[in-house]
């Protein structure tokens, strides 16, 4: 029992990332009908927003500290971050340590702008071109974005730690009444899952309970009619693209303490997220979220030692295997609508 709960918990954080990226992909596909291969790059840009903010906050100036001396006997020069100077050393240190959560605020406008610019600048011109062209041009864009990031930040992963309050693990088993020390779970992963759940709820609530969301849903169902009613649906869809970019970006920001961001993390997640979208059903938002969590948890179950003993290598291929089975037996995916890209 403990093992099962532990595996479910382990699957949740990866599942959350899959779900968030797949949600954005599906939003874009459902509204604009574009297959966006650059979505992984948006995830990566989000992660590098966190890195950038961490670097901005750590910008320092030199102060000569007379009380200490360096090894030559001269007064020691100390780098003091500007934030320390403004808010005092303790507050400044705290701000730097909390740079990852703070990066959420930083990432939202940045990702919104990136998404908006991408849609207006490039994707707009590809609505009438075939899906293959859309795949190819966004694939090219993904390469360009990841190379730009590489040129600025280098090829090595950049560690971005979580705030000290959330590093380390806690005893989840003891909380829910199991024997202590059976289920140990890192704080940050729980936060990641909570955050993902919050973002997903927010997106669904936005679509369900606002006028804007209602128009978007109407547009997804029948774009032409909505246009005939005198609503500028293109503008709303552009906004949805920006929102999808923000969702991917936030997923990236919060993922940085789990995995140090590097320039190809987007591509690594993209392939799997596409599989997730297809398993969930093209164009189905709940399907994308469900499939994200299901596949994340399945992957973590498949990497249990007991399972690997029976079927060696299953942990490497489980997601693809599930995708193949789903595509062949139920091509519209778990929750896809009948007739949407079913051929």
């Amino acid at each position: 029992m403990e093992a099962i709960i532990l595996q479910i918990l382990n699957g949740l954080d990866k599942g959350s990332a899959y779900a968030l990226i797949a949600l954005g992909l599906t939003l874009i596909f459902g509204t604009l009908g574009v297959v966006n291969f650059a979505h992984g790059a948006l995830f990566m840009i989000g992660a590098f927003c966190a890195v950038t903010l961490q670097r901005i906050l750590s910008l320092s100036y030199e102060v000569v500290d007379d009380t200490r001396t360096d090894f030559l006997g001269n007064p020691l020069k100390v780098d003091v971050p500007y934030v320390n100077g403004w808010f005092g050393p303790e507050m400044g240190q705290t701000i730097i340590e909390w740079s990852v959560p703070l990066a959420i605020l930083f990432a939202i406008p940045v990702m919104m702008f990136v998404g908006y610019a991408m849609e207006r600048g490039l994707i707009k011109h590809f609505y009438k071109r075939p899906h293959a062209d859309q795949i190819l041009v966004t694939f090219g864009l993904a390469i360009v974005l990841q190379e730009v990031i590489k040129a600025f930040y280098g090829a090595n992963p950049i560690p971005t730690p979580a705030p000290p309050a959330f590093t380390g693990s806690f005893d989840f088993g003891a909380l829910i009444g199991f024997d202590p020390n059976q289920i140990i779970y890192p704080y940050w992963r729980l936060i990641y899952f909570t955050f993902a759940a919050f973002v997903i709820t927010a997106v669904f609530a936005f679509l369900q309970f606002t006028t804007f969301g209602m128009v978007v849903r109407a547009g997804m169902a029948d774009r032409e009619t909505v246009g005939l009613l005198g609503i500028d649906i293109d503008k709303r869809f552009t906004m949805m693209f920006a929102i999808a970019a923000v969702v991917a970006g936030l997923a990236g920001v919060m993922y940085t303490p789990i995995n140090s961001p590097n320039y190809h993390m987007g591509m690594d997640f993209l392939v799997l997220s596409f599989v997730v979208v297809v398993v969930g059903g093209m164009g189905s938002l709940p399907g994308a979220v469900l499939a994200g969590f299901v596949l994340g948890i399945l992957e973590s179950f498949a990497s249990m030692a007991e399972v690997i003993d029976i079927i060696p290598g299953i942990n490497q291929i489980i997601i693809y295997l599930v995708a193949i089975i789903i595509l062949l037996t139920r091509p519209r995916g778990l929750m896809g609508r009948r007739g949407v890209m079913e051929d």
Partner: protein, 402 residues
């Protein structure tokens, strides 16, 4: 000639001349001159040109004719490579059985993958092929280590004793063709120029030419017409009572066999394999090649493959010092500015150049380099017509073959 129309024969002879004279054509600059870094006439790179050319020709038979975008073609290349290296390890160091084995293995694997994947079309087909390729990559990396060598891959080792090759104990075998070592080269020095004629390159080039010839025949055959019908309107084709599945499957297997041929050739050249050959970025690369050159045209993929491999090798060799040399005639400030501007695009950043070029091509030239060539050709022809209408008629007949 060879059952081809005059136009196609010209094209084939043109490509044959290009590949066979490549050691001359790719080395236009004298050794030790400042431009020598743009020379591509060294064996390693020339081999890659023709091998990836073969790969791209095969991919084009599937994507260019049927419109099925496979994102997992590198898997067949990998399987072909593994088949070939085992042939070399166990049976003989002669490359011919190895290459044939590579083709057969890749063909069988393509038959399996294609049979399943072709039940879906469009983006689902892409994802299915991608899933299969990633699965083979993951398996080759982990569980199948006894067969694939895992992360380190497979190489010819001193402990390998192929049945038919008499190796002294402890001697590491070398790939050969009836005794001709793949790595042996003949170097010709004319004045300041150095031309290298490599045995391996010519074998790979002959394989590519045969592949190219077969691809022309397929393009011009009724079978090729069927494949085009699948691309333009599969539904209508079904209504006329034709089952498109056998045709697409045949195209898939043929293109997988080309990939296997490329894989076998790779092994014949460098006698090693690693699982990274099957990674999905490798599949993406062949897509880039086909698109860059021109999908659905005969010569496009070969051009695309050549261009990408050239960029990969030459662009990544250029560094800041060389840039400074080039712009040395400028005032210092401007020189540094120019170097700073070009810096991200060269050396390790050559992928950026590739990505940008690729995007520009997809946006403005969906037909790839071949379409670009045709457009330029048309501009010239228009000018001709203004000058002399008789001449323009002649030019029309010189129209570049696809």
């Amino acid at each position: 000639m060879f059952g081809l129309s005059t136009k196609d024969t010209t094209l084939l002879l043109f490509v044959a001349a290009l590949t066979l004279l490549a050691p001359f054509l790719l080395n236009p600059f004298p050794e030790n001159s400042a431009m020598a870094q743009f020379n591509a006439g060294y064996p390693d790179l020339m081999q890659r040109f023709v091998i990836f050319g073969t790969f791209a020709i095969g991919f084009n038979i599937l994507f260019g004719l049927t419109g099925y975008l496979s994102f997992g073609h590198a898997a067949f290349l990998g399987v072909g490579s593994y088949g070939a290296i085992w042939m070399m390890k166990l049976l003989t160091l002669n490359v011919i059985p190895a290459i044939i084995m590579g083709v057969i293995f890749a063909g069988l694997f393509a038959l399996l993958v294609g049979y399943i994947s072709l039940r879906r079309s469009g983006i689902y087909f892409s994802i299915l092929t991608l899933a299969f390729a990633q699965m083979s990559y993951a398996l080759a990396y982990s569980v199948l280590t006894p067969i694939t060598g895992g992360e380190t891959g497979l190489q010819l080792k001193a402990t390998d004793t192929p049945l038919l090759s008499n190796l002294a104990p402890g001697e590491i075998g070398r790939a050969n063709l009836f005794g001709v070592d793949m790595r042996s080269s003949y170097e010709l020095v004319i004045g300041d120029w150095l031309f290298t004629f490599n045995a391996g390159y010519y074998i790979a080039a002959v394989c590519m030419l045969i592949g190219f010839y077969i691809s022309i025949r397929i393009f011009r055959s009724p079978f090729g017409m069927m494949l085009r019908a699948v691309k333009s309107n599969q539904q209508r084709m079904n209504y006329t009572g034709l089952n498109s599945k056998p045709y697409t499957l045949a195209a898939f297997v043929i293109s997988g066999m080309y990939a296997g041929l490329a894989g076998g050739l790779m092994v014949a050249m460098d006698t090693q394999v690693g699982p990274e050959r099957m990674f999905w970025t490798a599949s993406g690369e062949v897509v880039l090649m086909a698109i860059l050159g021109g999908v659905g045209t005969l010569i496009g993929p070969v051009l695309g493959a050549g261009m990408i491999k050239y960029m990969e090798n030459i662009l990544s060799k250029i560094n800041d010092a060389i840039l400074h040399q080039w712009f040395a005639f400028m005032p210092d400030g401007i020189e540094n500015l120019l170097v700073a501007i070009f810096h991200p695009f060269i050396g390790k950043g050559w992928h950026l150049t590739l990505g940008m070029l690729f995007m520009l091509i997809v946006i403005f030239l969906p037909g790839g380099l071949v379409e670009g060539g045709q457009r330029i050709g048309r501009i010239f022809r228009r000018r001709d017509r203004k000058a002399d209408s008789v001449e323009s008629d002649a030019a029309k007949q010189r129209k570049p073959a696809e």
